[in-house]
Symmetry: C2
Subunit: 415 residues, 2 copies
């Protein structure tokens, strides 16, 4: 059954500006703004990118953030977010938002969940209550949150899963994708019916109307549903998953999930490389959960456009800062009297205002400002890294740039 | 012995712009900028106003912050701060800074300290090491930190102290004040000798040179030493303390310490009122440790110009927000779906960006951003309150304004 059966078509325009080898530079026009790719998406787990404000994120050039459906579903509940104006307004972020589906989180709960064909029953980590997520509910929750991009509800398996488990999970993910699409189409038709075309959300917010907009163009909020390719580290299963996904419709983007979950790095890159020949060129490719600097560069070199990860904020809160010379542990005693900046090449508030000696002091004294300043720098670092990659693609030097960058990053031992 | 014996004279100009009853509006020109009074000083205990950045503080109109000598002496050590360019540069705050002397903190250590005429031996709360602060050391540490305003090292006693204890502590505080002044004068003469007049710090930073600047005008960093009036809640001891302080010299400002330490409110205000007739009119008066909104207004009504307190940031981190209608506990369930701002009359980032429902969610979810947003609002609230008091003094309506404000603040029961 093809997506057309549900009345779904491409919604949001993606333009490929340049390629260099497998690496790409593009732009994705979403209802709340344009996203230049390659792009790192900071993760706003509970409706906030931890320790950072929306103004911080604007100041460091973030163009899209990720929200976690699982967390917002449990607390405060998507009904509360909707009542407070939707996720953009709730968190004070008027730019694009992508929400995950909750699949990754509920499958991480291990002993606290029960999986059936219908969906996943689990215990809330907040209050222990019994909760349920299914393809339909995951789509409904994201629709209520009002993100620009909603993710399909997928069956996620651990890094070391067997071929049989992987096959089973990807088949279920494909069956669930059809249910997601059916529910999404129904919600979109409902929104269309309730809202006159003249009041289109896109128009009201001055965003460029999608050239391909069709069924949903008059709906508010406009949202697209993106499928997730599973298949663990088995190249043939990955290809089968992608073919299955593509067989179901003309998706606005393709997400690659179930990588960076404990498997060897070589297997991650092999899986990506195997998908290359059959990935549609004109759609953005989102590799989920990747955000350590060297992994970002390696992924971009394999044709990925979008990545997300909690690494920059989590590492920042632990006192580790990303630099081109490798990670720096700001707690180290050698920074005690260091008047130099954390990263002399960085333009963020942290690096242009404070010394390493001061930043170390904040961590020694367990001051909240330290958590924020290192998170800010790390997110800025990945946004700058993405922008540098984009520039290298555009001027045709990506291969040399990425090889030199990786060699330098890995050669230094910092502490 | 008068201060003139040490070559100390008035350093920094204070202009009284208006009075209204006992309330005053003035401006104090310090080396790093001008402070309009009445003024609330946020407290930067460990070289940072907890959860706020220097940019936050500038955005909400803070003009001077307080640094804690005790904390910075123990960690990272005043030598480290000096090596990193002094406290202004260390914490990224190029505006005025007042440092306390450490007296209040070491006397709060109770069982961990031993007091002698020489000074106070105590155990560091950081690493348990034996440390020592004396009048001389407290002045030396503050000189190394490079604050605009240094406080004399005083003997602080608990709120319920006996008359004998209070008399003893105030006599010691006066003897220690002479030792502080002697050490301060020696440091100032040394700085003068090392630094040509043409390189005056005031000139280099474009600040208005003090009309009264004398011995220290060429010193870097220029700093003034401010005495603290003790005497617990005994009006005659308070007067004796003030007379003793004034007998020692022409101080740039007068601080009133040892209040707001557990005594009944009526006793606080009585002590202040008793000092009124003999406080010099042309010098700023700093009431230490006061920062709950109703106490600030009550203090300003009794002729106080400067106050400081951790209350706005500490209360903010606990989820309590100051408003004209009384404190609001943002954790309360009634805010769950509230789309309105925390304080509709406030212009801070928190109130102009986020809903009460979102702020409540941040506290429920234990997100760092909540601590910051409520701290930001509370400090902004006290800065606005001070500015409103100043305006009321200037247009001659302070008495009516303050009575109406206090009545409204106390009449509402929020939760």
């Amino acid at each position: 059954m093809r997506l057309a059966a549900y009345g779904l078509r491409l919604m949001f325009e993606f333009t490929l500006d340049a390629t260099c080898g497998a690496a790409r530079a593009g732009r994705w026009t979403l209802p709340h703004g344009e996203v230049l790719t390659p792009c790192f998406m900071p993760v706003g787990t509970q409706g906030t990118v931890r320790a950072l404000s929306p103004r911080d994120l604007e100041a460091i050039g973030a163009s899209i953030v990720l929200g976690n459906t699982y967390h917002l579903f449990l607390r405060p509940g998507e009904d509360v977010v909707a009542r407070l104006g939707g996720l953009h307004r709730f968190m004070g972020w008027p730019h694009p938002i992508l929400t995950d589906s909750g699949g990754f989180q509920v499958f991480s709960l291990e002993s606290l969940r029960r999986v059936s064909e219908e969906g996943v029953e689990f215990r809330s980590h907040v209050d222990g209550s019994a909760r349920f997520l299914s393809p339909e509910r995951a789509v409904e929750v994201q629709w209520a949150l009002g993100s620009d991009v909603a993710m399909a509800f997928d069956h996620v398996i651990p890094g070391g899963a067997s071929r049989e488990q992987a096959r089973d999970a990807l088949d279920r993910t494909l069956r669930w994708l059809e249910r997601c699409a059916a529910r999404f189409a129904a919600l979109a038709r409902g929104a269309e019916g309730r809202r006159p075309a003249a009041e289109s959300h896109s128009d009201a917010h001055g965003a460029r109307p999608s050239a391909l907009g069709a069924v949903l163009s008059a709906a508010a909020p406009p949202q697209t549903l993106v499928p997730i390719v599973q298949g663990a580290t088995f190249p043939d299963l990955r290809r089968a998953a992608l073919e299955g996904v593509l067989g179901l419709g003309e998706w606005d983007a393709i997400a690659i999930g179930g990588l960076s979950v404990g498997e060897p790095k070589a297997a991650t890159w092999e899986a990506l490389e195997g998908l290359q020949p059959i990935l549609p060129g004109g759609r953005p490719r989102y590799l989920m959960g990747v955000g350590f600097p060297e992994d970002v560069v390696a992924a971009l070199a394999r044709g990925v456009d979008l990545v997300d990860c909690v690494a920059p904020t989590r590492m920042g809160r632990n006192g580790t800062a990303f630099t081109d010379e490798g990670p720096v542990n700001i707690r180290n005693a050698r920074h005690r009297g260091d008047a130099g900046p954390l990263d002399p090449t960085c333009d963020c508030e942290t690096c242009t205002t404070f010394s390493r000696g001061y930043l170390r002091h904040l961590f020694q004294a367990e001051e909240l400002l330290g958590l924020r300043l290192l998170s800010l720098h790390n997110v800025r670092f990945l946004i700058r890294l993405s922008a540098r990659a984009r520039a290298a693609v555009t001027d045709g030097t990506f291969d040399g740039w990425s090889r030199a960058w990786l060699a330098r990053y890995r050669s230094k031992e910092q502490a």
